[in-house]
């Protein structure tokens, strides 16, 4: 998972011009789209009729293919950022366009346009059609709107909240951080909101619309003590409304960010080598996501490049381990009412009491494996292909008490937070940076640790998960993205306290000492 900063985003969009269009004739800024929640949004705002969709789908299937789909997107993003005590910059970005896909077996033709008009759409469809070389195929004669459950209803559109209301959110976090400790030297903070409206139309006649909100509030703190500096941060968010960011939450955010920076002054680097690792509840699930989850995405298995390619039905973990990928958790960052190719949001059991039971599927892999799609077909934007991707991935709670898990370790580390994870799908090997943690010595948490890496192997880590506690915690962050194949999508995750009996810890010293 990586946090995409606005700076990175601007670089990406500026150089490659990935960002898309504004709405013709609509006022710019913190948009007030009064009709955003009504059905048939794209028809009302942009004249996208069923007839037009069917004409474009017919063009996409003009050379045959198994199916085609259209993905319309209108996204409005805003950032307000604070530095040196003042909210002194704001950015906005509007994405508008349609992606047109023709699928033949596992082959994909793809075109897109930023102009929601017949001619450019037909042109994009003709590019998509080139993947097939057979007789034209007709799309379904009638489009049927899908009825979807809503896992992230909005009482108030994000776009209807004025800029003036956003500024105090950020300012108050900054002020709270400075009030908490004299060691705080610098604070940067920001609020981001995104309101994404999509319409998926498929050649088999399905039509699904969704409105996906996403917000987060973050703080990054630099603390100074005796000439040394440390930096840490935190964020809260998800598919949340403005009302989520109460004073209590903002104060909690500031407290966590400050505490995380200040504790690093006392942190040591643990000895390097193999040792037991206790994963704390919540955000350590990034490890589950990266080291295990990616290997269970069906495209990697369909191509036989995942280490899990031959393991369906086999024991991959102890019987107390159950792993879920879920699009239905209320307001979680990875929740989806419908995926980006028209499959309704759902809960998928990947590992059931230690047995690998399912991969995460999009339509292409589901057809390959002769199973139903699991609602994991996702894409970054209308400019991107669909890939099987995680939603909210978590390990269900186990039988142990968290304190017993810690007590069981004579010498090892307790990981509270990890970042910058990377995994090699084919081997299952991974590496993670431990941003917050503690030493475990004789069953007790002792000195804080910092600036180390943990390395291991996903399947081995799963097999080596020998204790699992009853304290499942879902992460409440909103700034995390998962990257795959050049695409970033928001994902959520959760984890109970867990013991991995052996992992490589990369500190600076050879085995034998600390401090």
């Amino acid at each position: 998972m990586k946090i995409i900063t606005r700076r990175t985003f601007l670089k990406t969009t500026g150089k490659a011009a990935i960002a898309a269009a504004t709405v013709p004739g609509l006022p710019w800024g913190w948009y007030n789209l009064a009709r955003a929640e009504q059905p048939a949004y794209f028809e009302a705002e942009f004249g996208i009729t069923d007839k037009l969709c069917q004409k474009v789908l017919a063009a996409a299937l003009s050379k045959g293919g198994d199916f085609a789909d259209l993905y319309f997107e209108h996204t409005i993003r805003n950032w307000v950022l604070l530095e040196d005590g003042i909210v002194n910059r704001a950015y906005s970005d509007v994405v508008l366009g349609v992606g047109i896909r023709t699928v033949k077996g596992d082959q994909v033709g793809y075109g897109f346009t930023q102009e929601l008009a017949e001619k450019p759409m037909l042109n994009a469809a003709s590019i998509a059609a080139t993947i097939a070389e057979a007789k034209a195929k007709k799309p379904a004669g009638k489009l049927m709107p899908m009825k979807l459950k809503n896992y992230y209803p909005l009482k108030k559109l994000l776009t209807s909240v004025p800029l003036e209301s956003r500024l105090p959110l950020v300012q108050s976090v900054n002020d709270k951080c400075f009030s908490l400790s004299p060691l705080v030297a610098k604070v940067s903070a920001g609020f981001h909101d995104e309101q994404k409206r999509i319409l998926v139309v498929t050649s088999d006649g399905a039509k699904a619309e969704d409105l996906l909100p996403k917000t987060y509030l973050y703080a990054s703190v630099v603390a100074e003590k005796n000439g040394k500096r440390e930096r840490a941060g935190w964020n809260f968010g998800g598919r949340r409304e403005f009302s989520y960011y109460t004073k209590a939450l903002r104060d909690e955010l500031a407290t966590i960010a400050v505490n995380r920076a200040v504790i690093l002054f006392d942190a040591v680097q643990p000895p390097a080598g193999e040792m037991p690792v206790v994963l704390g509840p919540g955000v350590t699930a990034v490890l589950l996501h990266e080291a295990i989850g990616h290997g269970m995405e069906a495209d990697f298995n369909r191509k036989k490049i995942s280490t899990y390619a031959t393991m369906i039905g086999k024991k991959v973990a102890e019987p107390f381990v159950t792993i879920i990928d879920d699009g239905t958790n209320p307001n979680m960052l990875g929740s989806l009412n419908v995926d980006d190719e028209g499959t309704p949001g759902q809960r998928t059991v990947l590992v059931d009491n230690g047995i690998l039971t399912s991969y995460m599927h999009d339509k292409i892999s589901a057809k390959h494996y002769k199973v139903k799609p699991t609602g994991n077909g996702r894409r970054q934007s209308y400019q991107h292909y669909v890939q099987p991707r995680m939603r909210n991935t978590y390990m269900e709670a186990g039988p142990a008490a968290p304190e017993d898990v810690i007590k069981s370790v004579k010498k090892g580390i307790y990981v509270q937070d990890v970042s910058n994870g990377q995994v090699k799908i084919g081997e299952g090997d991974f590496a993670f940076y431990v941003s917050q943690g503690k030493m475990v010595e004789n069953g007790k948490l002792t000195a804080p640790i910092k600036d180390i890496n943990i390395m291991g192997n996903g399947p081995k880590m799963l097999q080596n998960t020998t204790m699992l506690a009853n304290d499942l915690k879902m992460n409440q962050g909103g700034a995390g993205y998962c990257g795959k194949g050049g695409q970033a999508v928001p994902c959520g995750f959760g984890m109970p306290t867990a013991l991995v009996k052996s992992m490589t810890v990369g500190g600076v010293r050879a085995r034998g000492g600390r401090g």
Binding site: W28, K186, T307, A309, N453, M455
Partner: protein, 440 residues
């Protein structure tokens, strides 16, 4: 398109000023690209499209905002810009936020950077498919019976950007970019399926290696991963392969940026003029490399670019300081970001160096990890090979190196003669002594 793009940028500035902006900078960009990949000897993905966009930065009453859009029709843009100006007025005043002093725009080099391939327009769909097929064929052939999966891909793009500011800046840049890559997954012992790849990027099609070489390179690099295992923790010399140096160098560079210095997030903030690395460590920022991927005549602020020696034989000479943070720091600005970064190559090949060192680890990839720009501490996973008596003897996986940049670069003992040219960062392989590589 150049004139149309300039006209649109000029019009956008006019609209912003009439809506109350004191100053603004507008840029218009366009891109056309084709992206083709093959797997199992047939196209896996074919994608082609054009994009366009406007970015505008607005300065009003000492306040600042930035917006982007790609609807370039004037009626839509007019509302877009006018509303941007109104909302910018609601932000806090920032006395440091202005357009740059125009004196920094002056002195722009008058030269052709050679970033447009004259043959781009002649590139046919057939030629693209032929390239990708050749990558796949070559990889399959060299990978032999170890192959589980091979994906080959070719991407090409034509980009243009025109930039204008209300205080007299004017700039236009166009470029072509070609990218080819091959990726292979091989069967190893048990369930291990290592994946390796090769790639090249160039602004000229002729600047790319033959597609067969990319395919064969992907196979060779993948097969080299077979049997990878974790070794005992050891203090040992390492050689970081040229194409992978950027991962470690990038962590060091974070501490050279004006924002990190001003925000107290730089371990180099007070080290200007000091020796912070061994004499073998020199970094040159050279914006004038012919057909260089990072070449430019002006930077993001519009400053006329200059060649700069950032680190000279281990002494920190310069920082990357843009206009805004130069004002916050009270320093003279340099440039906000690197162009082409060059570490001057040494005299010996990696092979000769390995022979001389006897035993060590060649690092051919990194995994995860972190580099802390505030403290300089870093920790990263490595993939590579143990060599003994100058020869590769064992593939290495699941190991880690950690340390602090201020100490690490002092251990740089040699620079090889093999700069990696398919990147904005032209880095040769680097040799470090006494590095703790942790494993079992």
């Amino acid at each position: 398109m150049k004139k149309e793009m300039y006209d649109l940028a000029a019009w956008a500035i006019k609209v912003a000023k009439s809506a109350g902006a004191d100053d603004c900078r507008a840029s218009i960009n366009r891109r056309r690209f084709v992206d083709i990949s093959y797997r199992e000897r047939k196209p896996e993905n074919i994608k082609e499209a054009s994009t366009r966009g406007l970015s505008i930065e607005i300065f009003v009453n000492g306040r600042y905002s930035g917006q982007s859009s790609s609807d370039l029709r004037q009626d839509a843009l007019k509302d877009f810009i006018s509303n941007a100006v109104s909302t910018t007025k609601l932000l806090a005043k920032d006395p440091f936020r202005t357009l740059p002093d125009p004196k920094y725009y002056k002195g722009r080099a008058d030269m052709d950077l050679g970033q447009v391939d004259p043959d781009y327009k002649n590139l046919t769909p057939e030629a693209r498919h032929k390239t990708v097929k050749a990558i796949e064929d070559s990889c399959l052939s060299k990978g032999g019976d170890k192959v589980i999966s091979v994906t080959a891909r070719a991407y090409d793009s034509y980009l243009e950007e025109a930039v204008l500011s209300s205080n007299g800046f004017e700039g236009y840049q166009e470029a072509t970019v070609y990218f080819t890559t091959g990726q292979m997954t091989a069967q190893d012992e048990g369930d291990r399926r290592p994946m390796g790849f090769d790639y090249a990027v160039s602004m000229r099609r002729k600047g790319l290696p033959p597609p067969e070489k990319i395919g064969a390179g992907a196979a060779k690099r993948t097969l080299a991963l077979l049997g990878g295992k974790k070794l005992k923790t050891e203090t040992i010399p390492i050689i970081i392969e040229n194409r992978n140096v950027s991962r470690i160098l990038g962590g060091f560079l974070q501490a050279m940026f004006g924002r990190n210095i001003q925000q107290k997030q730089s371990f180099l903030a007070d080290k200007k003029g000091q020796k912070i690395a061994s004499k073998h460590f020199t970094i040159i920022d050279d914006p004038f490399v012919k057909a260089g991927l990072g070449s430019r005549l002006y930077d993001n602020d519009g400053f006329a670019t200059k060649k700069r020696v950032m680190v000279d034989k281990g002494v920190l000479n310069e920082f990357f300081v843009d206009w805004y943070y130069s004002r916050k720091l009270g320093w003279e600005p340099t440039t906000g970001s690197p162009s082409n970064l060059i570490i001057p190559p040494g005299k010996r090949s990696v092979k000769e160096i390995m022979k001389d060192l006897g035993r060590g680890i060649v690092i051919t990839g990194f995994m995860g990890g972190n580099s802390n720009s505030t403290t300089g501490d870093a920790s990263v996973g490595i993939i590579g090979h143990l060599f003994e008596e100058g020869k590769l003897v064992q593939a290495v996986a699941e190991m880690n190196i950690a340390g602090n940049h201020l100490q690490f670069w002092n251990n740089l003992v040699e620079v090889a003669n093999d700069p990696w040219t398919y990147s904005e960062w032209r880095t040769p392989s680097l040799v470090f002594k006494d590095v703790v590589v942790s494993g079992v």
